[in-house]
Symmetry: C2
Amino acid sequence: MSKITILSDIKSDKSFEEKLPNINHKEFDKVIQSRRSIRVFTKDKIPHDIIKKSLNNSLKAPTSSNLQTWEIYWAKSNIIKDRIVNACLSQPAAKTAKELFVFVSRPDNWKRNNQMMIDHLKNKENPPSSVLRYYQKITKIAYNQGFFNIFGFLKKIYVTVYGLFKVIPREPTSFNDMKVWSQKTTALACQNFMLSMRAYGFDTCPMEGFDSYRLKKILKLPKKAQICMVIGAGKRDPSGVYGKQFRFDNSLFIKEV
Amino acid sequence: MSKITILSDIKSDKSFEEKLPNINHKEFDKVIQSRRSIRVFTKDKIPHDIIKKSLNNSLKAPTSSNLQTWEIYWAKSNIIKDRIVNACLSQPAAKTAKELFVFVSRPDNWKRNNQMMIDHLKNKENPPSSVLRYYQKITKIAYNQGFFNIFGFLKKIYVTVYGLFKVIPREPTSFNDMKVWSQKTTALACQNFMLSMRAYGFDTCPMEGFDSYRLKKILKLPKKAQICMVIGAGKRDPSGVYGKQFRFDNSLFIKEV
């Protein structure tokens, strides 16, 4: 097995520069500070251009190896919406939500997306060779777990032994690891979405209390697809915030080492 | 076993209102649009107040059941930093980073944090009864997997049978589910951090290509702790962006149903 060096040697062959904007960070801080999980929404509509803008903002989140193993289902039909509300145990944040979005992670799509990435690179005039090599070799070793996880199991043995002597990336070596990998990427998109809705004057509630089996059936998703979060959105009803945001003291979580 | 209704009936007993700020969403969009994964940083320092502000912004992300099973390690000692760079295979985004942060998910801390939440509620004058009940009963059923996952296994049987007839939240019923649960929450905090750094004029690179075993040893973390991401931060070097952000067409991921 060749040396696994996920992301350690991916680089572009030519330079590229992006102009950075001046940003008023106070506006950003207001977004962060005023975002709360809202459990009751008013009947006000969310303009569709704001929804589209926020969905677009979601997919600007970083995504592992740029493999974009995420999907967002926007429940526009009332029948689907009612069924999703039901699968969320009819909790107020779902029931009163003007719009409902299901963020889904698709670890099962990594191979399709990897091939699409190769096709995209090959269509370019001078595809950067190290990037092409990355998608043709490295990701295929990193994310492939093989039939019945046999390759993942072999990788696990390999990294355990090799790792005794040298630094080596260890995960993913199972479908459970693939789930974690893809769910993390999808969660980054969720956070972009929630902040974006807030920036545009609307609010959200991320929900994890749902019947994942039923949700997958409603959305006609395969077994390996994973529901990340259901996000209810709308205009904040004053009764929808249950109190001041409470966090334990930061010193419990932020460690300087 | 009592009916599992994670989050479906948590509510406050008294009303609370928060004044919403007016936000210039253009500033927020600039943050989203200019955030890129930066693979080379300059030697410029990041003022510590900006780091502290961004760490604080991280922990304002929503967290499942408000159990805050996250931790952030800020590598301040050069020895620790060098060891983390090494565990990240010395990739440029780590090696050139002015500051390194390891975002860790701690599914193993749910019980401690749940008890802290109960203690916090009991210290209040009139603790909202439904919230107290939530942490005294519901979360204990939802997140407890028992010795050798026995309770999780029993829950899995229960939800599978009960779920044939009625809507029921299904996960988490194993430590693997707990990993996904806690990693999602931690990823939300990661995204807040990366956006916050950008809003303050600095940049980041989230890394998953690392030796998780060595990282845990460096940070003296127990086996059950999970590394979510290592995030390098600093001032963007023009050579640190490898090209225009590339995403497949949104229609592949955003589905109106």
